[in-house]
Symmetry: C2
């Protein structure tokens, strides 16, 4: 399978390392022979129709800060590359943007029109245009996968869609943003909001644009994806009732503790779609601390089931891209 990789940040680099380390196993176990034929970052690009040398690519990126120095005369990146080279799958890893979803949205739509299957770990295009992207995929008969957008390495989407097949999920609620969970957990341990935020920033947990975490945009984007994929709704970001954690103060924290609950930023689908701080009983399996993510699905016949896992991280997300690639390989081979 020939792959175009959009973006070469932490996740994409982890993915390249993962491919490199598992080449033999992927072929013997899944018949999968992935070749990255094109990659671009914000400063440059690299292409090779017989597959780029991933070790060289990684060291060039490390040395020069861009993949542009991989070879002398490289193709243009972005939509140009998608139009000019042959590939089977596009992996979109550029940064999530909830204003206009660019440049990811243009990459994905151009690739779909060119007949490429899509793996996106970029939440922006999905949050702003999920229903129309699914239509476009269906019209162009390509697959779209995005396991890495919710739960990082924890296969929440797949669990709800496949492991619960034959079941009807009636509602769900979850802690979908590890950063705010870390901050709120620390506030329950006695820190002020400001101290907890500073600490989270020091550890590199907070997005460059802190609003994505604190105002609940990241959690809302994940809720949009879950609502569309799991519940068959056709919704986008503006359909979410959204309240972030900036107004959570010591009083709210103390009141929560009095009732044997903890304050969590909860994304819920139960009738309406909402992201807001809520009090969760301490003995509820959903009530996890630190940077953990958790989600509880309530189904018609199997009761409530909770999945807990690390929400993010380069390796985890890279591993979800690989799962999607294997899944696409399986689906294609059925025709």
């Amino acid at each position: 399978m020939r792959i175009i990789l959009c973006g070469f940040g932490v996740v994409a680099q982890s993915f390249a390392k993962l491919l490199e380390s598992r080449t033999a196993e992927l072929y013997t176990k899944y018949g999968l022979k992935p070749r990255i034929v094109g990659v671009f970052d914000s400063k440059g690009s690299a292409t090779d129709s017989s597959g780029l040398n991933l070790n060289k690519l990684l060291s060039v990126k490390k040395k020069y800060g861009t993949v542009g120095n991989y070879q002398k005369n490289s193709e243009k990146g972005g939509v140009n590359m998608i139009h000019s080279i042959d590939a089977d799958v596009l992996i979109e890893t550029t940064a999530s943007n909830y204003k206009d979803a660019e440049p990811g949205l243009s990459h994905i739509t151009a690739a779909m029109k060119a007949g490429l299957h899509i793996i996106s770990v970029n939440k922006g295009p999905l949050a702003l245009a999920f229903p129309s992207l699914m239509e476009l995929a269906s019209y162009n008969q390509v697959l779209m996968r995005f396991s890495g957008t919710v739960g990082g390495g924890t296969p929440i989407l797949d669990y709800a869609k496949n492991s619960l097949s034959g079941e009807r999920i009636v509602s769900f609620q979850g802690i979908l943003n590890g950063t705010t969970n870390y901050i709120l957990s620390n506030m329950h341990s006695g820190m002020s909001f400001e101290t907890a935020l500073t600490d989270a920033k020091k550890r590199g947990y907070v997005e460059a644009d802190e609003s994505l975490d604190l105002d609940g945009l990241d959690a809302a984007a994940k809720l949009v994806i879950l609502a569309n994929w799991i519940m068959g709704m056709k919704v986008t970001m503006p359909d979410i009732k959204l309240t972030g954690i900036r107004k959570v103060n010591d009083e709210i924290i103390k009141n929560a503790e009095k009732n044997a609950t903890a304050t969590k930023l909860i994304a819920s689908c139960n009738g309406g779609l909402e992201v807001s701080p809520k009090q969760i009983p301490i003995n509820d399996p959903l009530c996890v601390n630190g940077t953990l993510n958790a989600i509880s699905f309530t189904s018609e016949h199997s009761g409530t089931q909770t999945i807990i896992g690390r929400g993010a991280g380069g390796t985890e997300t890279a591993s979800s891209i690989l799962r999607d690639l294997i899944d696409i390989r399986k689906e294609i081979s059925r025709f």
Copy 2:
């Protein structure tokens, strides 16, 4: 799909009700048209090659305590029925037995030899003969599914096998028996072992043979199934190092609490296979209370992921049988 149902207890009756209530949806959504062509319990049997009337079957069972009164001259049950009527799938729901796995083992092997696919919620045959049953299934080119044996309605097996595809699970540990978890949780709330056991019995949580719960046999059977299915091991019950909860006393409980841990009956696969009481940190997602089940899988790239859900119950297990049936339908239609 023509189905032979072995046993007509709580789970099988729930399954019959589930089929009845979802006939239309199963056909439109999955192309599945299940007909139960034969059923037997310990006292009698009923057959109809065009499909038994499930409402009648349920009311006959309720009235007479056996399906034998459904019709005048019914076929013999058990292995005889498997030999004498045409069917595609055998669903084995008789009681788990860890001495010789009978009568379930004979039902399953006879059905496999006759070319029937198998769904078993009976753990006995799997615990005592998993590797040889898988070989027999493969030799006869039939599928064997058993989602309901571990986690009840919580699709633990499917999660680990499919949702984590592309990942290597390196170890796992779990609370796989809800009854002992209920007893131990109550001991942590101040009850003595005896009071907690009596309470669990009153609520109908304890197996007729209490040893299956208290001595860890039920948890060990589930561990055998997980080890074979998830980790590719070839093991049976005697390979498990087994300690039950009978020796857990107030002192052990108090010591656990001093260290901010709780005593849980843990089934683990980490090098060796073991079921024994262990101290689990209270803030570990695995540390759930009441009758809940929980399992943590540690994978190479996605960290540790925990799934929590109700472990048992007629409806939950019936819903897992339906999942297996849908899965078998899907697999068959690929050929």
